[in-house]
């Protein structure tokens, strides 16, 4: 069990305790305020260097990590893999060694291979490693920002604030994760976070898109998407990952949409309090109807906004926490 993120790598949300998750969410709450200021910057990581290594394409994760690091006054080394020596065949180990030689305090890593972040943390044990998505394995900051978004929405409705509510609003909350669970690192991080926070989690997907080890997950698999939608307080949609061949796991995209897509008809039947989430990028018209994405129940824009304070909190706890007693 990981009881705090202070001074730790963030490789996975599996085994992160409720207390540690709440600590991140509470710290992010302070950074929400920083992001509302005219001068959106605090000197907490002044003089520290954060390397951002994205071996896989990304828009929001990369931008929001780099924004987060800059708002903490860290210097950001950003490696554009497409124009780097990786294209000449440099290995991950050598690339990391090169960047480490420049002197870095943290590395934010996105990689197509599951376990890449863990591997890098072994190469450079003195550097804090933040996993920004590794293959099919985990995308911890997405899980954190999803939980943060849910807590924010629910605490606003309850007329309280996130810090006061702690983990109470998650107790027994009914979360439905639907879609391409098999290929989704977001699903793995979301499930770990929601389950640790006390939610009841169900997943709905075509049999072919369920992970083979789903019986070991802290979830219940449901077949009837429409029943599950009625049950859910939170609906977490997942992108159908066509670049990982998900298209060949379903008979046709149209059939996937008909059985497991959040169509406008299904969205109209949702309870008015149900929250709809999507980690992006969306396949509009596949797992989510374009019109649903723009309904007030959809928190997709808010998820992106919350990415910055959550990643500030993660970098702050991980990097500053590791310097305790350093001098």
């Amino acid at each position: 069990m990981i009881e705090t993120l202070r001074g730790q790598n963030l490789l996975t949300l599996d085994g992160v305790s409720r207390q540690a998750l709440v600590e991140v969410l509470d710290t992010a709450e302070s950074f929400v305020e920083v992001n509302r200021r005219t001068i959106k910057k605090v000197p907490a990581l002044k003089g520290r260097v954060v390397a951002s290594l994205f071996f896989e394409e990304s828009t929001r994760t990369r931008l929001s990590f780099e924004t987060a690091a800059k708002r903490l006054s860290a210097d950001v080394l950003s490696l554009a893999v497409a124009s780097s020596s990786v294209k000449k065949g440099e290995s991950l180990r050598d690339t990391i060694a090169t960047i480490d030689a420049l002197g870095i305090d943290a590395v934010v890593l996105r990689h197509q291979s599951s376990g890449a972040a863990l591997q890098v943390s072994r190469y450079v044990p003195h550097v804090r490693v933040i996993n920004a998505g590794d293959g099919l394995h985990q995308h911890p900051t997405q899980g954190l920002l999803d939980a943060f978004t849910v807590r924010q929405v629910l605490s606003e409705r309850a007329g309280t604030n996130g810090v006061e509510s702690g983990a109470a609003l998650f107790e027994g909350l009914r979360v439905l994760i639907v879609g391409d669970v098999r290929h989704s690192r977001v699903a793995r991080s979301d499930v770990a976070a929601y389950a640790a926070l006390g939610c009841e989690v169900r997943v709905a997907a075509p049999g072919t898109l369920l992970p083979t080890d789903v019986e070991n997950w802290p979830v219940k698999v449901v077949d009837d998407f429409d029943d599950a939608l009625e049950w859910a307080d939170v609906v977490g949609l997942l992108r159908l990952q066509r670049e990982r061949g998900s298209g060949s796991f379903v008979p046709s995209l149209a059939e996937f949409t008909a059985t497991f897509g959040l169509t406008i008809e299904r969205a109209r039947r949702l309870r008015p309090t149900t929250i709809v989430m999507h980690p992006g990028p969306m396949n509009r018209g596949v797992e989510i109807d374009s019109r649903v994405a723009d309904l007030p129940c959809a928190m997709i824009g808010r998820q992106v906004t919350n990415g910055v304070p959550i990643r500030m909190a993660v970098l702050y706890l991980s990097v500053v926490g590791s310097l305790e007693g350093a001098r």
Binding site: S30, T38, V42, R327
Partner: protein
């Protein structure tokens, strides 16, 4: 309450063990009333006055001074809070402070800011607060009100309004709340 003087001491994972009470809640309130009158005396334009309590120990004092000021001037004086955790120069030496809410919601340019804290010790919290304030513009003046000044400054910082000067040794600990002021020691929790 227990968090009031924790920021003053090197380790925040220690509990406060009270040895003796130095001020009662009535004495604290009398001191705050006097400080409020001094603030009125030194600030001609009270509409430009901004009371800012430092998280977490200064918050209750800022609120109390604001309420006394409201009674004195017959207008509503409010206070805001500032958390200086992200501005501290000892982030890499001490256990990380738990961050708390900052509620400054407007530009402070040309305002008269009065920072309020419970205990003035090394002055490093105030240094962090001064740095933080510059992110909200350029106040005309920044003044400092503290319930207790216990000495041992490490920076050229002094308070404009002091509830009580208490000579202490570095090893001692002070707890100052609206309920009173105690001197004591730090014990592992």
């Amino acid at each position: 309450m227990s968090s009031t003087s924790e920021r003053q001491t090197p380790s925040r994972d220690l509990a406060f063990l009270a040895k003796s009470q130095l001020l009662t809640s009535e004495e604290v309130d009398r001191a705050l009333t006097r400080m409020a009158h001094e603030i009125v005396e030194h600030n001609a334009h009270l509409d430009e006055l901004r009371l800012i309590g430092l998280q977490t120990g200064g918050v209750a004092f800022a609120q109390r001074i604001a309420s006394i000021l409201s009674d004195i001037v017959g207008a509503n004086v409010t206070s805001a809070f500032l958390d200086v955790s992200f501005y501290r120069d000892d982030l890499n030496r001490n256990p990380m402070p738990k961050s708390a809410a900052t509620t400054i919601d407007r530009d402070l340019t040309d305002q008269s800011v009065v920072l309020v804290d419970d205990v003035l010790f090394t002055g490093r919290t105030i240094r962090a607060a001064l740095n933080a304030l510059s992110d909200w513009g350029r106040p005309r003046t920044v003044q400092l009100a503290v319930m207790v000044d216990r000495g041992h400054r490490e920076l050229p910082i002094r308070a404009d309004y002091v509830g009580k000067n208490l000579p202490t040794s570095r090893e001692e600990a002070i707890r100052a709340t609206l309920d009173g002021v105690w001197i004591g020691a730090r014990e592992p929790k």
